[in-house]
Symmetry: C2
DNA sequence: GCATGCAAAATTGTTAACAATCATGTCAGC
DNA sequence: GCTGACATGATTGTTAACAATTTTGCATGC
């Protein structure tokens, strides 16, 4: 099962003068990306160049080039002289990502609804069928990937590559955020919500489509534990499990 | 005079654990970026690693790392086994960049108008004063930079770093597009248009602000020569300056 | 048991060298 | 003069080695 990126990048391989063979760091990028999205590489984990170089059978320079790519996607964090770490998005960052997605996907939904054709509708439906299938099969991983790809499909249908590429990166970051802030109940897109979104898109009304998209994104965000603890008096005794011996002056 | 990126990135140096000293490829990145934006490195120009390494007094590896960063910003194009070239945005790409900017900056203008404060208004005005100054001084280069920074200031005021970073990259690409498709008359933002935009933002009405922003961006785009020649019969005679000797069968 | 200093190990940063590929120039044949 | 083959030079792709920095472990003193 390939990751979200493979679907999007497969269309861009042509930019490498028709070469179908991926270069080492591209393959490594995909494998690391999968590991991050699968949560095998957990937020905060240190990524040691030499270890990865040995694992992939290349020199450290290939790993470093891959790190630069992953850092651009904000999936890892490069700290000079200290190393590379899987990103740990802050709550602020998470909120900003969702806010940015709302801004972008609002426009995408408007465009798709306005320019809806029977062919495109069919394409979206087929995708949703695959989502339903994955759910029925209990293939949780496939369902998650297809769920993200649904958003990417809409971006592609909006016909703006600049936006599509940006959204792709936001979706990857969203996956990491979900890994960090997941609540006990399922957090990813519900496929019934995608059904509702499709209906809104099929209405042909950009405002209806945009409103449903916003609702959907807000629902994902609200299912995450993004609330900050309320500021209050710091209770060191309970933090450290100590009983105060006397009142400090 | 520093480039657009310096203003934005100066706020992000803290991510390098407080280190104020830029690393080699960061300094090289800035210098190359300036050269591209100044049109000293022209669209299509080949960037030879060894030559640049000698110029900057570093190894080729530093240059390659810089290339990766510039390529991520779509300012250069890396072709495997052939080299790096300053990007030559296509007409389609130019149109998509402006369309993406409309999508983003529509949201930014709404946010800024909605959350306008006297302090922020003052900040924007001061920036516009500097734009006017640059125009009166006839400092064309400063005027261009300040003009792009005006948009970036609004993005910053919208309070979403994800959007700010994305817009920064779109603005850089816009500069390259302007270099490619510039018409004889001035193409960059007119500072009177920025005045009108400020008035719209000060109205506090998000719809008014968004409409003015769209008008402004459309005006820039329309001042570029982005029209494709109409498809027609290819006239080889006039292309090659030859007079046909007979009618081909 | 804790703090400090130092050495060793681990890791990152960078370069030079070699391998691989592409672009250009030259020569021979037609 | 044009085309094709081949050699040469230029350039990119990649690695291993060395330099620099950080982290960890150990010994000593209090």
């Amino acid at each position: 099962m390939e990751s979200i990126v493979t679907m999007a990048r497969a269309d861009q391989t042509g930019s490498y003068k028709g070469s179908e063979k991926l270069r080492p760091e591209e393959m490594i990028y995909h494998e690391m990306l999968d590991a991050i999205l699968d949560r095998r590489l957990e937020p905060g984990m240190k990524l040691v160049e030499e270890d990865l170089a040995k694992t992939f059978g290349v020199s450290r320079a290939r790993i470093r080039a891959t790190f630069l790519q992953l850092a651009h996607d904000k999936l890892i964090n490069l700290v000079p002289n200290r190393g590379a770490f899987v990103s740990e998005p802050t709550i602020d960052e998470a909120i900003e990502v969702f806010s940015a997605r709302r801004m972008i996907e609002d426009g995408v939904a408007r465009k798709v609804a306005t320019n809806m054709t029977p062919e495109r509708a069919e394409q979206i439906k087929e995708h949703l069928d695959r989502e339903h299938d994955a759910h029925h099969r209990g293939d949780h991983r496939a369902a998650i990937i297809l769920s993200g790809e649904f958003h990417l499909l809409l971006a592609r249908l909006s016909g703006n590559l600049v936006i599509e590429e940006f959204l792709e990166r936001l979706i990857l970051r969203t996956s990491l955020i979900i890994a960090m802030y997941e609540s006990p109940q399922p957090v990813d897109c519900s496929h019934t919500e995608h059904d509702q979104l499709l209906n809104a898109l099929l209405s042909g009304d950009p405002d209806v489509a945009a409103a449903e998209m916003s609702r959907h994104l807000d629902a994902i965000r609200d299912r995450l534990q993004l609330q900050r603890p309320k500021p209050g008096k710091t209770d060191f005794a309970s933090i450290f499990g100590r009983i105060p011996t006397s009142e400090a002056s």
